[in-house]
């Protein structure tokens, strides 16, 4: 199966993310620790949105209103600290977790023809030419980069390393 190993890595990010989020209170999740930074709420929303977009790309049904989430969590959007402007923290985490299961189910149904075709995200096409390139990046590097941001968000506030 195409992208089988990438999906394996994607699923393993779920366990690490859960470790990073353990004990995090809902109100704390919207806290920004610097200008231009991101908070756990934005990271979860962003990764949940990406997962739903991938599911839709594979012909599946998104579990969220993607058009409503885009202005809140799309790439390049700026997180706000006002939690009332966002879905509830529990929902953000739930969408992210469900997104992992949905993506794992959806990937095998993407045809080789689609995978080798042009990346539907025009902005990323210069560096990720095909759909396969995009998915490979999204399942591995992209989610991991945001997990790293979450890790630093914890650590600068004095929380201990996980390893």
């Amino acid at each position: 199966m195409a992208l089988e190993q990438e999906v394996k890595v994607y699923q393993s990010q779920l366990a690490y993310g859960e470790m990073l989020l353990e004990g995090l209170a809902a109100d704390k999740a919207f806290e920004l620790i610097c200008d231009g930074g991101v908070n756990p709420a934005w990271i979860m929303g962003h990764l949940g949105l990406v997962a739903n977009n991938i599911t839709a790309m594979a012909g599946g049904q998104p579990k969220i209103d993607v058009e409503q989430w885009k202005p809140l969590f799309g790439g390049g959007t700026t997180p706000a600290t006002d939690a009332s402007a966002y879905p509830a923290w529990d929902e953000l985490v739930s969408v992210w977790k469900q997104g992992h299961a949905d993506v794992a189910d959806a990937i095998p149904s993407i045809s080789e023809e689609v995978l080798s075709g042009e990346n539907p995200i025009e902005l990323l096409r210069p560096i990720l030419m095909t759909t396969h390139d995009f998915l490979s990046f999204a399942l591995t590097a992209h989610e991991s980069m945001h997990m790293g941001q979450l890790s630093t968000w914890r650590r600068v506030q004095g929380q201990p390393p996980l390893f």
Partner: protein, 166 residues
């Protein structure tokens, strides 16, 4: 899969360069926040170079340890080591970037010689095999996911210090 891995691995190196390009020697070991031992740029570059040269990617691909990597002590850069806010304790930025780049080059060359069939074989590393039974998964974890996790840490670390996004 090999082409995709090589592409993402190369992109990681470019991203690492951009993340540290504008840093002064003092900024390389800054630990902003409440005094916790946050992973700073010198530690991250050294850690990733160590993984590329010695105990991660090179090990998986069966490469010898490069003599130039002897400055990357596991006590300073190994997993679980504690980054210290003292630039004098670390090789400078150019040296660390050079080590990371040479590690990447060795790993990329070795990976390019592998076949897709080999990446479908069992992972030759007991610790990783439990999570990634296939060699391709283990390599994706070490080359792409692990590197990008630390680069994401650096991305946020920059913003905490008021440095611009790259």
């Amino acid at each position: 899969m090999i082409d995709s891995l090589l592409h993402l691995y190369e992109d990681n190196l470019g991203y690492a360069r951009r993340l540290v390009d504008d840093l002064t020697p003092e900024q390389m070991t800054a630990q902003p926040g409440t005094g916790a031992a946050v992973n700073h740029a010198a530690w991250v570059l050294g850690h990733l170079a160590l993984v590329a040269h010695v105990n991660g990617a090179s090990y998986l691909l069966g490469l010898d340890v490069a003599p130039e990597s002897s400055v990357l002590g596991p006590d300073d850069f190994g997993g679980g080591s504690t980054p210290k806010p003292d630039a004098a304790l670390y090789p400078d930025k150019d040296k660390l970037l050079g080590l990371l780049a040479s590690g990447h080059a060795r790993v990329a060359e070795a990976l390019a010689r592998r076949t897709a069939g080999e990446l479908d074989q069992p992972t030759p590393h007991p610790g990783l095999a439990a999570r990634f039974p296939r060699f391709g998964g283990a390599l994706t974890h070490v080359l792409v996911r692990h590197e990008m996790l630390h680069l994401g840490q650096l991305s946020a670390w920059r913003r905490v210090q008021g440095l611009p996004s790259v």
